[in-house]
Point group: C2
């Protein structure tokens, strides 16, 4: 699923990382954080949406890479002792476990800066750039809500997840539309991306239910319970597939398959 | 000195910080890190160079703000316990002392993202944007050299300071030239900015000599000793004033005064 887009992203990530003149350990820790076997779901969705709407994935690649660099930096910082304090990421030591805290902070800073620099080097497409960077800011806010004491009510649950997880999915869809020359669709596609981000988050919550409950986390599952979360997943899936119904080219069919698979994912 | 540019920057910083929808504590910690009585030397130099070369400071303001946001985020992260572990910044508790480590990490991430977002919202001027973001990446590298074990030799001393301090000064001058429509001068002005950054760094080292020696820091002063550092300051000052000699409008005279004052600064 999305394999071609994932492969394209994987190759381009390496090519688009500017490492000239940078301190060797900074380069090593940045590469460790970026080239780590991630699923590349956000950039792949950006490329898929772009092709679905008649654009060329090749032209959208640097934007997809920037989006993934932003996602990667956020994981490096999220794992830090002062944040989620995770020793492992995808079965390997987290960045600060491998390189120490100072280097992990700098690796994250470096990846975020690379993303912005990469975007700045693309001619035009200002709307796509702003979508991606505005989502990156929302993501920081979502992480802030997640780490501080907040009221646990329904609007806050939606806001937190819309920002923390939803924002980058929203950006993938909106930027994909802009890059296909279909800025007229940026707003509805932004909402579609937000919905897919939500779906991704809730299915994640269902998978992590036991752990999250033990840690008293504020998730869809701990708030709504399993039955309601599952019906929420079904509803959201149906809404997304309904919105995608008018599209029937190869990327559209792939996107629909991704949505169905997301609902049934087991990892 | 540079008062008008500093005032312009101060007012614009507040206006250019996008805080819609952001978590209140994130906004508070970002503002604490940004609006903290800084001297605004880098953005003021950018505006001054722009006017010296015939541009309008007003048009360059968002770029100056982005540069200062990048400088501010780097101070917030540099003060963190895992980095320089400083409890105070300009006589007030450092960001992590005030808001906790997690919020300080996010405040830095937020300010860097704001800088990139602000740049992305300016039409055109791609070269100025790339100068600023490329310098931001060099700065992270300089910080990496500073925090890790490195060989203490002359080329490394220059590289470390060229990146850690010099890069943002270099960007101020190069971006100032681009924004004045004088991209033909971007390269020589880039070198001029680098030299002024060096001057700023060495005079700083002379002021902090005692503390740096006690902490075994790798600075111009601890490496060259005081006499040679002072003659280095004189030489660099003369080179800069020589390069600025052809310019004689009001901003040029102000810039020369800044250089002379830098050499004699006592704080």
């Amino acid at each position: 699923m999305l394999d071609r887009y994932r492969q394209m992203t994987e190759t381009a990530l390496e090519q688009n990382l500017y490492t000239d003149r940078l301190a060797p350990i900074l380069v090593e820790s940045m590469r460790y954080g970026l080239l780590n076997g991630g699923k590349r779901i956000r950039p792949s969705l950006l490329l898929c949406v772009c092709e679905m709407l008649g654009g060329k994935a090749e032209n959208a690649l640097p934007f997809a890479c920037a989006l993934e660099m932003i996602h990667s930096y956020s994981l490096v910082h999220d794992d830090l002792p002062a944040m989620d304090n995770d020793d492992y990421r995808r079965g390997k030591p987290s960045n600060h476990k491998q390189f120490g805290e100072a280097n992990a902070i700098l690796a994250g800073d470096g990846l975020l800066t690379e993303a912005a620099l990469l975007l700045s080097k693309q001619a035009g497409n200002d709307a796509a750039k702003a979508e991606i960077l505005s989502a990156a800011l929302d993501m920081v806010s979502g992480q802030s809500y997640d780490l501080n004491e907040i009221e646990r009510n329904e609007p806050m649950l939606h806001l937190l997840h819309a920002q923390k997880t939803g924002a980058l999915f929203r950006a993938a869809f909106a930027a994909g539309a802009h890059l296909a020359g279909r800025s007229d669709l940026a707003e509805p596609f932004s909402k579609l991306g937000q919905a897919i981000g939500l779906l991704f988050q809730i299915t994640d919550d269902v998978l992590d239910a036991e752990k999250d409950r033990a840690e008293n986390k504020f998730t869809y599952l701990t708030f709504y319970g399993e039955a309601r979360s599952r019906s929420y997943i079904q509803e959201t899936e149906q809404q997304i597939l309904f919105a995608l119904a008018p599209y029937d080219n190869a990327p559209a069919r792939e996107l629909k398959a991704v949505v169905r698979q997301m609902t049934n994912r087991t990892e």
